[in-house]
Symmetry: C2
C-alpha cells in the first residue's frame, strides 16, 4: 500500500541524538515506501508547552474547560494548534516519538497533547461523547516509538520500573485510543545511554524499519471499546475477563 | 506534631478555580495546625515547562543527559530549579496538586518534574543509584491532590478510564517513591465539572482537611523497596506475590 500519510510528533532537545537518528531513519523508510511524511519537531518549533487562556480568543468564560469549548465553537483556537489538528485529521498513521522521561512523555509533548486535544476536538464534556475506540481520529492508526535509558529487564513484566505496556497505558489507551485511533504495539528501544553501541543501533533500526513496513497490516492492541464492553457507569460489564484479572489488564480483550 | 514544613506544587490556569479554592483550604488548614507552608504556583510563576540546554551553564557535552549531569556537578543549574530543589530538601511533606489532564499531570507540572529532578539530583546514570524507596528525598512524605472531571465509577476498579491508583502509579511510584519519599494515598476529587455543587465542595474540603490533619501518621502506600525485593536485573524476586498477580500490583507488598 503506497501513498499513505504519516504524521510524526517528535520531542528531543538534542539535534544529534539517537532519537534524531531514528526519526531520520523513519522518514527515509516511509518516504522510500511511497508515503508522505510530516514531522512536528516540537523542540525545533519551540512548541508552546503550556495550555492557558492565551490559546483562545476573547471569551466570557472564566473557567478553563468551558473557555476552551467556547473557543472551539467559535474557531478561535491558536494557529499552531489548528495546524496540528489538521495534520492529525489528514494522517493515516500518527507516530509519537520521544525519550521516556519519568515514565511518560517529556513536558513539551505533554503540552502538545494538552493543547491539540482541546475541548471540542479531543474530548467533550457530554457523558455520551464518543471515546475509547470512537472519536475524532477514528480510522487512523497510532504508534509510540520510545527510547529509554533503562535496561529491558527493568521494564519487563516483573521489572521495578513497572512493565512498559502498563507505563504506556495512560498515553496509548487514555489519549490515542480515547480519540478513536487503533494503537499498534510500541517500538521500545532500551538501554539508550552512552553505552549504546553501533550494533545496538543497527538492531533498533532493523526493528523500526520492519514495524514501519508493516504498519498497515499489524494487529492493533486489543483494547476494549467503550461502546460495547462497558455499562452506563462506564464500568466493564461483568464476566468478560478471565477470573482474577485486575488493573489495566481488564481493558484488553 | 507542629512546626513541620509542607511544600505544595500547584498547577491550574484559572486563578478562581476549584483547585485554587482547595489549595487555599490546604494552606489555611496546615498553617492553622502550626506548620509552615510554601507554594509553587506554577502558572503564576510562569514556570519554564520545557527542559532544554538553557537549564545548564556552559557545557562541552552535546548529549542532553550527560550535559545535565555535568551542570549538576559544577553547580550550574538554573536558579528556579535550584530554588525548588531547596524547598523539597527542606520539606517534611510534598503535595502535588493538579487537575488530571489526559490521565496525568498538566504539561507545566511535568516540566517541573523534568527540570527539578535533574541528573545528579533526582536520578543518576549508575546502575546502583539509590531509588524506589531510597534517594535524595528519603525521610519525606508525598501526597497527590487531584481533581478530575470523570465520575468516580469511571476511575474505579472496572472503570473504562483505568483505575485511578494504576493511572497515578507512574507519578506516585516512578517519581515520588523513586526519589525516596513515602507516598500517602491520594486525595481524589471526582466529577469536578460545572455541575460540582456546594455540597460536593464541602465534602471535598472535609476529606482534604482530614487527610492533612493526619498526614504524619497515615500509612503510606506499601510499594516494595528496590533494595530488598528485586534481583540484580531489577526484577521482583520470585514467590513474593500472591499467585496470579500481574502488572503494577506486583510492586505492592
Amino acid at each position: 500500500m503506497v501513498g499513505m500519510k504519516i504524521h510524526i510528533v517528535y520531542a528531543h532537545p538534542h539535534t544529534a541524538s539517537l532519537n534524531a537518528a531514528l526519526r531520520d531513519e523513519a522518514v527515509r523508510t516511509l518516504e522510500g515506501l511511497g508515503h508522505t511524511v510530516t514531522v512536528a519537531d516540537l523542540y525545533a518549533m519551540q512548541w508552546k508547552a503550556v495550555a492557558d487562556f492565551d490559546d483562545f480568543g476573547p471569551t466570557e468564560n472564566e473557567a478553563f474547560m468551558p473557555a476552551a469549548g467556547e473557543a472551539w465553537e467559535q474557531g478561535e483556537i491558536a494557529a499552531d494548534v489548528k495546524a496540528e489538528q489538521a495534520r492529525l485529521l489528514a494522517a493515516d498513521l500518527v507516530i509519537l516519538q520521544f525519550p521516556l522521561w519519568w515514565y511518560t512523555v517529556p513536558a513539551i509533548m505533554k503540552g502538545w497533547i494538552d493543547r491539540v486535544f482541546t475541548n471540542g476536538f479531543g474530548y467533550g464534556t457530554s457523558r455520551d461523547w464518543p471515546r475509547f475506540g470512537d472519536g475524532v481520529l477514528k480510522g487512523r492508526r497510532a504508534m509510540v516509538v520510545v527510547t529509554t535509558g533503562a535496561a529491558e529487564s527493568h521494564l519487563s513484566d516483573r521489572g521495578v520500573n513497572g512493565d512498559i505496556d502498563s507505563l504506556l497505558f495512560p498515553l496509548q489507551h487514555g489519549v490515542l485510543f480515547y480519540t478513536g485511533m487503533e494503537v499498534l504495539p510500541p517500538v521500545v528501544v532500551t538501554s539508550a545511554h552512552p553505552g549504546f553501541s553501533a550494533s545496538d543501533y543497527a538492531d533498533a533500526v532493523k526493528d523500526l524499519r520492519s514495524r514501519l513496513e508493516t504498519f498497515a497490516e499489524t494487529a492493533p492492541v486489543a483494547y476494549r471499546r467503550q461502546a460495547e464492553d462497558y455499562d452506563d457507569d462506564k464500568r466493564l460489564k461483568p464476566g468478560l475477563e478471565p477470573a482474577g484479572t485486575t488493573g489495566f489488564a481488564l481493558h484488553l480483550a
